[in-house]
Structure formats: structure tokens, C-alpha cells
């Protein structure tokens, strides 16, 4: 089964060598074909076909970060202007755009947004508190005081279906659109494997204990910079005790229920997560026998 989660399939060659060679970076910056990603704060600006918009490097309001090469042409994004507060969460405008994205553009945007967010929230050295400066062509920050090097953070998150025969466990958070149910999820913690995080999170949120875990797929999730790791776990009990701080309801749904929800059947017992979320990929894989 070939799975193509949202925000995967980026087309930029990240060209790691440019991060380690100031001459290569200077050449890329001077290239007349170099382009800057247009962002509105952290939001993308899409054309009618769902493609990202690019402009000349001269338009940059902050510091240039090297994203990679697209067909040999250098691509950059800019940090937020000094003094602009970093937008937290997702804007209403972004929600409307996520369905319209051309797939490769969504992936390229995920890298750019994650990078810009990280620079905005990590201007100071965690080790000594000094203002740091951009390094590694935008893929790091260096501290002039203590010498610490900082690199963009990626936060692994486990997202999983507990499976019990022909049924899967789904839950909903109070803030979600009406009727929406999805896979349970949570941050993987220091000292855990993926399997262990799946077991802990499922049990914390629902009281359902998990035995064997199988990996299904992963995706980058740029809000702000997660790595979503989607799994299916064999449930060892079926009685549910939800953590009311996390969920407002959780229940078991059949493969047929899930199939109807994915098909947007108005009589389905719940509303499926959107296609760009890996929960959609995970439910699709489960329905197809993953």
C-alpha cells in the first residue's frame, strides 16, 4: 500500500553542503534566479492553482534562510522582521488554504514555516541567555557568548488507532469542528521509544491498554514543527475511561463506520479528519487492512 501523507513530497534539494560552505551560500545569494518565499506572517500566499508565491530576495524583511534548490534555482525564506511577535497557532486564513495546497507546495511550505517559527522563538541562547545569530545558511543559530550551537527543533508526536477486532478507538477534543473524531495523539517524551509512547498516550487518554504496535506512516506537521508518527496498536481491553482534560468523548468505530466517514457520507457516525492530516492517512490505511 503506497501512502502519501499530507506535507510530504517536497521538491527542494536541501543541499546540505551550502550550510557548511560560505562561498556556496554567497553564490546562491548572488544568483539572479534566487527566489524568496512570500509569507504573510507565517501564512502562505497561494495562487489560484494552490501554488506558493515567490519573489526576489530584495523583498526580504528579515534574515535570509536557505531552503534548497528547485531545479537548480536557490530558494530562500526570511525570518520574521525583528520585533514582530511570532504568530502562535494557526490563523483562520490558513485553515481555508490547507485544502487548496498543491501537494509539493504544502511540503515545501512545511519546511519553510517550521524554520521561520523556530528562528522567531529561539532568538536567545537556552544555555546562557545571550542573543544568538543565524548560522549554517539558516539551519542553525550560534551563541557569540558561550559558543553553543542550536539547531531547529522537530517534535515527534505519536498518533494511533487502538484496534480491537474490527473496531478502532477514536476520540474528539472539545475544540474540534462538530462531529469530528480522530486518532488519539500526544508528544513522545524523553526516554521513550515509539511503541512505548503509543502505549502510554493511549492509556493516559482513554484507559485502553495496548500490546503490539505496528508503524504505518509519518508526516511533518508544521504547527509548529512536529513529526507525526502514525501507528496501530492492539488493544488489550475495550472499556474506555477518558482523560477529561484531553478529550470530551471517545468510542469504538467499525471499519464500515470509518469507511463511510472517509467517503464523507452524510449519514456516517462521525466526520473524518481532513485529508492533509495523517490521521486521514492512518484511517485510510486501517480500512484497507494495514
Amino acid at each position: 500500500m503506497t501512502l502519501t501523507p499530507g506535507f510530504t513530497g517536497g521538491t527542494l534539494d536541501r543541499a546540505d553542503r551550502v550550510r557548511h560552505d560560505p562561498e556556496l551560500l554567497a553564490t546562491a545569494l548572488a544568483d539572479p534566479h534566487a527566489r524568496l518565499l512570500v509569507l504573510d506572517g507565517l501564512d502562505p500566499v497561494l495562487d489560484e492553482d494552490g501554488h506558493l508565491t515567490w519573489t526576489s530576495l530584495a523583498e526580504a524583511q528579515g534574515e535570509l534562510l536557505f531552503l534548497g534548490f528547485e531545479a537548480g534555482e536557490p530558494r530562500f525564506v526570511s525570518t520574521l522582521p525583528e520585533g514582530m511577535p511570532v504568530p502562535m497557532g494557526r490563523s483562520p486564513a490558513l485553515f481555508a488554504m490547507l485544502d487548496r495546497f498543491a501537494p509539493a507546495d504544502a511540503a515545501n511550505y512545511a519546511s519553510a514555516r517550521g524554520l521561520v517559527f523556530w528562528h522567531g522563538r529561539n532568538r536567545f541562547c537556552g544555555n546562557c541567555g545571550t542573543h544568538t545569530s543565524v548560522s549554517h545558511a539558516g539551519w542553525g543559530r550560534s551563541c557569540p557568548h558561550c559558543g553553543a550551537e542550536h539547531f531547529p527543533r522537530v517534535e515527534p508526536v505519536v498518533i494511533m488507532l487502538a484496534e480491537r477486532g474490527d473496531m478502532a478507538l477514536l476520540g474528539r477534543q472539545p475544540s474540534w469542528p462538530p462531529g469530528r473524531y480522530s486518532a488519539l495523539a500526544g508528544f513522545l517524551e524523553v526516554g521513550e521509544s515509539i511503541d512505548e509512547a503509543v502505549r502510554r498516550e493511549t492509556c493516559e487518554e482513554s484507559g485502553v491498554r495496548i500490546g503490539a504496535v505496528r508503524y504505518v506512516a509519518s508526516q511533518p506537521w508544521p504547527f509548529p514543527a512536529s513529526l507525526m508518527v502514525a501507528c496501530i496498536g492492539e488493544a488489550l481491553n475495550d472499556d474506555i475511561r477518558i482523560d477529561v482534560h484531553e478529550l470530551e468523548h471517545a468510542d469504538w468505530f467499525s471499519r464500515e463506520d470509518v469507511r463511510r466517514a472517509l467517503a464523507r457520507d452524510p449519514d456516517a457516525p462521525f466526520v473524518a479528519p481532513p485529508p492533509y492530516a495523517i490521521a486521514h492517512t492512518l484511517l485510510t490505511a486501517w480500512v484497507e487492512g494495514a
Copy 2:
């Protein structure tokens, strides 16, 4: 196939509720059965059976961080004393201990070490540079100035075998013990899925392009706080061009070569990675047909 990578199988109940309820934390701190993990800097102190050493909370030199419950008894570790530089890398003493660890103790140590390291290197707010304070019973730090909440960082790393028929690609770094070869590995970056990171890293380090990727296993790696994600990728070419900044040599090895190395056969063409490294698990799984 049941795989049990090193540093997995921890026995502590992390009891997330304690992090959100100051009364539960106060009760745990006052519990006469509460115990403090003994560390020498960041190194463990092992008894003859490879077990961790625990003492009373009164011995703490820094701030107490709640690790979880072991059979109902609260377990803590302490931040490094204020002013002590955070040890970077692994000490020679630690290397000698890694082979001796009782498995569950290695896992419990991984969480504790990762947490202590993170507090030591993240005393200041990345957003505004202010000194932060311990929050969430040790699983966070709060900024008194800008209000930012910071949580321990886990760094996903992909580690992979490129597979070409009956052969697997292994490489060696110049700093490794003589004869040692292992799977290629590298940090997963912002905007990447696991599959994409496997393809990029393998190609960067060896020039070998990867098609389909299959997940094998994961482990926490507490040096300082990685999540190692082990995969096998189908190689699309077999000519190798190593990145000399990363590797000093890479080559294709047969299943029989790998089997002999894992068996510590003195005539094997290379020395296998140690059992606590997930590279060992990955090679074992590959030899057994994963």
C-alpha cells in the same frame, strides 16, 4: 519478530497527572518511600548487578525532577547543581557501564539523563533570554518574563540500512573503534517525513539513492536525547560516493558477513555495533529477514 532495542523497557509509571497537580507532587515529595537517582554528573552509578543506585531526596544537590512511580514509590532525579557545567558527550566511564546495564535500568536512566541534560542546557528562555524555572514537576520550564512554556526536547534521528539484493550498506566514522561498521544515520529535519529523511541522509552520506522504505524499530538514545528510528531502504544504485566529512569508508556487506559480525566471529569482515545500540537491533532484524 519481537525486537527489544537497548534503552527500552522502562518500568516507571510517568504518572502525567502529577505534573499538573501541585498537591500530588507535594504528596510524592513528602512520601518517605520517595527515592533519588544517584548520578555522577550525568553518569549512572551501577551496583554489581548493573542496577541503578537510589538514595534519599535529602541528598539532592539541585532541583528535584519527578521521574514517575516504581511499584507505587515516587522516584526523582536532581538537576545538576547551579554553576556545574553540563558534561557534553559520553565519559569513558560511561562507555564501560553501557554493556553492564540491567535492561530496565538502562531505560529508566535514559529518561533521567535526558531530562537532566535538557534542564542544564535550557536554563534560559529561547524567546526572550530570561532565566526560566522548573515547572510541570520537572517536565517543563516556565519563563517569568514572557510566559513561554518550554518542554524537554527529543531529537528524531533516522538510522538505516540501504539494501541491494542480499547486501546492506554500512559505513564507518573515523572516530569509531577499529574495524567497527554500522548503519548510516542522521538527524531528521524540519519538514521531513521519516522516509524522506532516510532518502536524503543516505544519499548525502553515500550517494546511494533509496526507493521504498520500511520501518523496523525505534529506541530512545540518551546522548543527549535522541529518538532513533531504524529503517531499511531499497537501494536504487550500488555505486558509493562517501561524504568524507561524515564517513571514512562505506561498503556493501552480505547477510553472512553481518551474521558473523553479530556473532563476534573474529574472522568477520567488520566489528558490529554494541547490543545497546539500535544499529545492532537493525542488523539482527535484517539478518533474520525483516
